[in-house]
């Protein structure tokens, strides 16, 4: 493939467009990044150069094209330690409770129900590591599910771009749990091995699962209508052991949807405990 050409003015225009619409800051020396992300798009749009792309963007009715440019440059909106507070609560409040409650078996079952490209399950895995559970002889059964095989494969590989590791990941954890592989960062093999990634569509029948101590089902319910939300929460109530914990997204709750959970609030964070 012949690399598409573009003038400095064209790249300056694109950098400004991207910053104004997505707040992604691209310096002049990051021209390669624009070429990599937008190059394939030029071919699809039958444009010969970045100058032609800019000319098209400056013509009337360029809204959809503008959108495609932004989508090509911005990555999927997810991050490590998304919202931070729930993960603080998990580490400082819920893990100590679980250590106490499950000390007889020294076994924990954890399910991350919307693993997407892996940021959330790996965040949980890093916390388990930081708490030293495995070193203390605990067995952690950790399942992460998603409905897309494509994102599951990405998650299994544990490869993240620079833009992705910039999002929410404390730098000591980057140093501890990642290797640099080419231009990307890969979660170390021993951490990847902690998570069993499986395909699961929440709308369909759920496979048999062990009784869960903790379920993370964050930013999932928002996509469903009220009857489906109720159905999922009802199934979760049967999947989580009495006294076990459910983490939902910041804007989600079990309120008016399920009577099987009680709210646990610590500071700015909330989770839900399966009633006994």
């Amino acid at each position: 493939m012949i690399a598409a050409t573009g003038s400095e003015q064209a790249f300056a225009f694109l950098r400004k467009l991207i910053y104004d619409n997505s707040a992604i800051v691209l310096e002049a020396d990051k021209r390669y990044l624009l070429e990599a992300r937008l190059g394939p798009m030029l071919t699809r749009e039958h444009l010969g150069s970045f100058d032609e792309l800019v000319a098209r963007l400056n013509s009337g009715n360029s809204g959809p094209l503008r959108q495609r440019v932004l989508e090509a440059v911005t990555t999927h909106e997810t991050s490590f330690f998304r919202d931070l507070h729930p993960f603080d609560m998990f580490r400082k409040t819920i893990v100590p409770r679980l250590l106490n409650e499950r000390s007889a078996t020294k076994r924990l079952n954890i399910w991350c129900g919307a693993s997407s490209t892996g940021q959330e399950p790996y965040t949980i895995a890093f916390i388990i590591r930081e708490c030293g559970l495995q070193l203390a002889g605990w067995t952690i059964d950790f399942i992460a599910t998603d409905l897309s095989e494509e994102v599951l494969n990405r998650a299994r590989n544990g490869l993240f771009s620079q833009l992705e590791v910039n999002r929410g990941l404390p730098v000591p954890m980057l140093i501890k749990y990642f290797d640099k592989v080419g231009l990307e960062f890969q979660v170390k093999a021993d951490v990847r091995k902690m998570v069993a990634f499986r395909k699961l569509n929440l709308m369909e029948a759920w496979p048999a699962m062990p009784e869960m101590d903790v379920v993370f089902m964050r930013n999932v319910l928002i996509y469903f209508d009220v009857p489906m939300k109720k159905r999922i929460l009802d199934r979760l109530a049967r999947t989580i052991r009495p006294g076990g914990y459910l983490f939902l997204g910041t804007v989600e709750s079990t309120h008016n949807l399920s009577n099987s959970f009680q709210t646990v609030q610590v500071g700015n964070a909330t989770c839900y405990q399966r009633t006994t």
Partner: protein, 127 residues
């Protein structure tokens, strides 16, 4: 709140300043290199302290890594410092943290990723 932005690029100082202002910092102090940044730090008074430093790595006169070491050695032990740099190797990241930087942001970065770093450092930012 007062933030110190250290970068030899005026454009980067402006962009970083804009994001930091959106996240609750009212006053932005700028410096073009580490030496100038140390002068700004020493000049800052107890009743108007610098509460955050955002520092580029590659700068003339005094680079960002040296700035971090000098600031820590001169007693600015509690100042949260974020390195913002194009350097993306694990070796550089590790060197920055060992020198005393609290966080590390690789360019190019998004407004959200800088906000994430502020949250990690304990700054309450508007959603």
């Amino acid at each position: 709140m007062r933030a110190l932005i250290v970068d030899d690029s005026k454009t980067m100082r402006r962009i970083v300043g804009k994001v930091v202002k959106e996240n609750g910092f009212e006053i932005i102090v700028e410096a073009e290199n580490g030496e100038e940044a140390m002068t700004r730090l020493r000049d800052s008074s107890a009743d108007a302290p610098v509460q955050l430093a955002l520092v580029d790595w590659n700068m003339p006169v005094m680079d960002g890594l040296t700035f971090v070491k000098v600031a820590r050695a001169e007693g600015f032990a509690e100042l949260p410092i974020i390195m913002i740099t194009t350097e993306g190797s694990m070796e550089y990241v590790t060197r920055a943290i060992e020198a005393g930087a609290n966080e590390y942001l690789m360019k190019p970065f998004t407004k959200e990723s800088l906000r994430d770093k502020l949250v990690l450092l304990g700054f309450e930012t508007p959603i």
